[in-house]
Amino acid sequence: MDMNISNTCPLSELPLRSGAFILYVGGDENAKRRLAELGFIKNTYLTPLFSSPLGDPRTYEIVGTVVALRKETADNIYVIPTKTNSPTEGDKI
């Protein structure tokens, strides 16, 4: 899969409707565990879908579900944006 590894960014800065792979999930342990249960672990593909009328939180499509995260949480998740559109569910690098 061709992708641009050089530019990582916080998940909160990933534009809507563009795909990315998770590189790193930060935050305290409870946060990490909660996020992992929802599919936010390294190498998982996700797409920001839409944001709430007030801009925050935003929703992300991940492993076939839609999950809303606040900006403060998404700031702690680093992703590698990819140009390929919509790989199948749970695909890995």
Partner: protein, 697 residues
């Protein structure tokens, strides 16, 4: 005749409750909502001579951590010795669901996978190879659509068959080799100490002792005989841990490795048995989501929704209320006649009918309709997927108050009935935020208080204006009161989350499930059956004794003055400080069972009647109040105090049940009382100050 013990597990939003209801019909005990299922819902079905008892575990994403829901689920799976655990799996997001399946498979062998929504998955272009899945996991898989009756029969027969068969699941989460080596000695120790414990459970405990030592130890203590929990055991674990540490596995990285291993295994299996058709689209935002959450239409749609709820509360619920109270009045007359013909003395009849019966009837008539409307409505909206979207839209605002968007929903419910709002707080997952939401719910004026608010504001606020504007002005005034309640509620939430519940750093995550058509009839029956009647029983159990108390106070005299008057005189100084009077304060205290009887009791005190006064015309009420020295300021203070005072007894009792804490219940009484007193005292002082200045000028 035998009983089989079956557990039903699964992620939230996978149609688990639909499966549970379909399996057990109405043959079940009250289940709780998402959140604090301290005791799992329980139901049963029968095939031939066997009764299958089904326990509905709380919906969780995992069973390895220590949140209350997960603890309940895990303890049931580990220690209740189930004959079979059925895991409901959503075919549209297999990976995440498999994560839970694999975790549960770590604990027990006796599993049956129930693949739900594969029709929905098919529409989305996701095809799941059930046989492959079954083969990879080494577990039986039933592919069903929970709304389809035939499928439920299939599931039942599958459960009946699998309960008696033996299991040998092939799959086991593979941890990194170093970690596997670390688990082994602990596993062997546990197995030796407690040979009766299933091997899988032993291994699970061994893993937990390393990644979550605290509850690993708790699990171990339940399995191991006392003499085995010794220094030898602790030393063994310590040496394994330090060994891991040397190899670069700290406590945190052990946890990460365990989470990672489980999820990667899930990803791997899901990948092997899922294929996609050309229908498959990702990053697809449906029209409903576009409308509900867009910048332009999102907020207006929320407002329409909230207005709808307000309408239902203020107007819709009143029709059944009126019908009920007419019925109760008739029944009251019949009961009086019965008492008379049974030869009861007058005072006893009066105590029973005017005291106990009337108060209880009034509480029921006012509380039942909003409850009967709200519980099913919210369940329906939740099933439909609308509630999570509202919480999502409003989260930003509530985030500033240190809470989350779900509190907006509980506040809405509070408009109907605070007891409903308080139990609705279960939808808030963080304990700190939930407690804050529970304690501040009473600042939202409930249906029971609207009666007095509308009467007083039409007399004292609207009455100051000409007829054309009076109803408009009084409506605006009520809105101002509601907004004032909301603001105080947010402010207090802010203060609480900042100072009282400091460790409130829980990450906010909210799943937006796909829109799904709920089964309306079943939801209606269920919520009416469980929640409504349940709450009502609670209401009646507090209303009846309070009714008796009011009657006794009004009818027992001491040196020629009734106890009620003694009360009023005693409370007069406090009342005057608040800009009220003794009678008003007495009324608020006596109306503890139900806020709707505040005004009747005030009138009762003024005209020295022996029972609460109801059904007076607005004109008569105006006259009585004005004769007793009411001014616009008194009315404003009464209305403010009505919005900002202690909740009714039913709500308090609900707070006790929900939080399980006596302290929280006491706080639920005094925090609002304190806020209300401060606000009333300051408006009162301000009023007198302004008056003084005007006189001086």
């Amino acid at each position: 005749m035998s009983n089989k013990h079956i557990l039903l597990a699964g992620n939230p939003n996978v149609g688990k409750s639909t499966v549970f209801n379909a399996l057990t019909g109405l043959n079940q005990h009250t289940g709780n909502w998402v959140g604090k299922t301290v005791e799992p819902a329980f139901g049963s079905f029968r095939i031939k001579d066997t009764t299958y008892d089904i326990y509905d575990l709380p919906g969780t994403y995992s069973v390895i951590s220590n949140s209350p829901e997960e603890k309940v689920a895990r303890d049931e799976i580990c220690f209740s010795n189930p004959d079979l655990t059925v895991i409901v799996v959503d075919a549209t997001c297999l990976t995440r669901n498999l994560n839970l399946v694999l975790q549960i498979a770590e604990i027990t062998d006796r599993l049956l996978l129930c693949l739900n929504f594969s029709d929905e998955a098919y529409k989305k272009g996701i095809l799941i190879d059930t046989e492959k899945l079954s083969e990879l996991l080494g577990l039986p898989v039933v592919d069903i659509c929970a709304k389809n009756k035939k499928d439920i029969i299939l599931l039942k027969s599958e459960i009946a068959e699998k309960v008696d068969s033996s299991f040998k699941p092939r799959y086991r989460i593979k941890y990194p080799d170093i970690f596997e080596d670390a688990i082994r000695p602990i596993y062997e120790f546990i197995k030796k100490a407690s040979p009766d414990t299933p091997s899988r459970l032993c291994r699970f405990i061994a893993v937990k002792l390393l990644d979550y030592p605290e509850f690993g130890a708790e699990l171990a203590s339940r399995v191991l005989p006392d003499k085995w929990i010794s220094d030898v055991f602790t030393n063994l674990i310590d040496s394994v841990k330090s060994d891991l540490n040397e190899k670069g596995f700290s406590a945190v990285s052990v946890r990460d490795a365990v989470t990672d291993a489980s999820f990667s295994s899930a990803v791997e299996i899901a990948k092997k048995c899922t294929s996609y058709s050309e229908n498959h689209k990702t990053a697809n935002v449906c029209l409903a989501d576009k409308l509900l959450t867009s910048k332009i239409t999102g907020i207006p749609m929320m407002l329409v929704f909230l207005c709808g709820i307000l309408w239902l509360t203020l107007i819709g619920a009143n029709y059944p209320s009126v019908i009920l109270s007419t019925l109760f009045t008739r029944l009251g007359k019949i009961l009086t006649q019965l008492c008379v013909s049974a030869g009861f003395p007058y005072s006893l009849t009066s105590l029973l009918i005017d005291g106990i019966y009337k108060t209880t009837a009034q509480v029921t008539a006012v509380m039942l309709p909003p409850m009967a409307i709200f519980f099913p409505l919210f369940t329906l909206l939740e099933d439909l997927g609308i509630l999570p979207r509202i919480a999502f839209n409003l989260d930003r605002g509530f985030c500033r108050a240190g809470s989350c968007g779900k509190q907006a929903l509980t506040m809405c419910m509070g408009l109907g009935c605070n007891a409903v709002g308080v139990s609705g707080c279960r939808i808030i997952s963080s304990p700190a935020k939930r407690n804050a939401a529970i304690l501040t719910n009473t600042f939202i004026p409930c249906n029971g208080r609207f009666g007095m608010l509308t009467v007083l504001s039409s007399i004292f606020i609207g009455g100051c204006f000409s007829d054309t504007y009076s109803s408009l002005v009084s409506a605006i005034w009520i809105c101002v009161l509601i907004i004032c309640g909301i603001l105080v509620s947010l402010l207090v939430t802010r203060i609480m989350t900042k100072f009282v519940y400091k460790n409130n750093r829980e990450t906010f995550t909210l799943e937006l499930p796909p829109y799904r058509r709920p089964s309306i009839a079943k939801t209606l029956i269920r919520s009416l059956y469980d929640r409504t009647l349940h709450t009502l029983r609670r209401a009646i159990s507090v209303a009846a004794p309070c009714g008796a108390l009011i009657w006794l106070l009004a009818n027992i005299s001491f040196n020629g003055t009734t106890l009620l008057n003694i009360c009023t005189d005693f409370l007069a100084p406090a009342g005057i400080l608040l800009g009220l009077d003794g009678a008003i304060l007495t009324a608020f205290l006596l109306a503890l069972p139900a806020n709707e009887i505040v005004l009747p009791i005030i009138l009762m005190c003024y005209v020295s009647s022996t029972q609460p006064i109801d059904g007076y015309s607005t004109y008569a009420i105006t006259e009585i109040l004005k004769q007793n020295g009411w001014t616009v300021m008194t009315a404003i203070n009464v209305m403010l105090f009505s919005v900002l005072h202690f909740p009714c007894a039913t709500t308090l009792k609900t707070v006790k049940t929900e939080t399980g804490s006596f302290k929280a219940t006491v706080a639920a009484f005094f925090v609002p009382l304190f806020c209300g007193s401060i606000i009333c005292i300051s408006t009162n002082l301000l009023y007198h100050l302004v008056q003084l200045i005007l006189v001086l000028i």
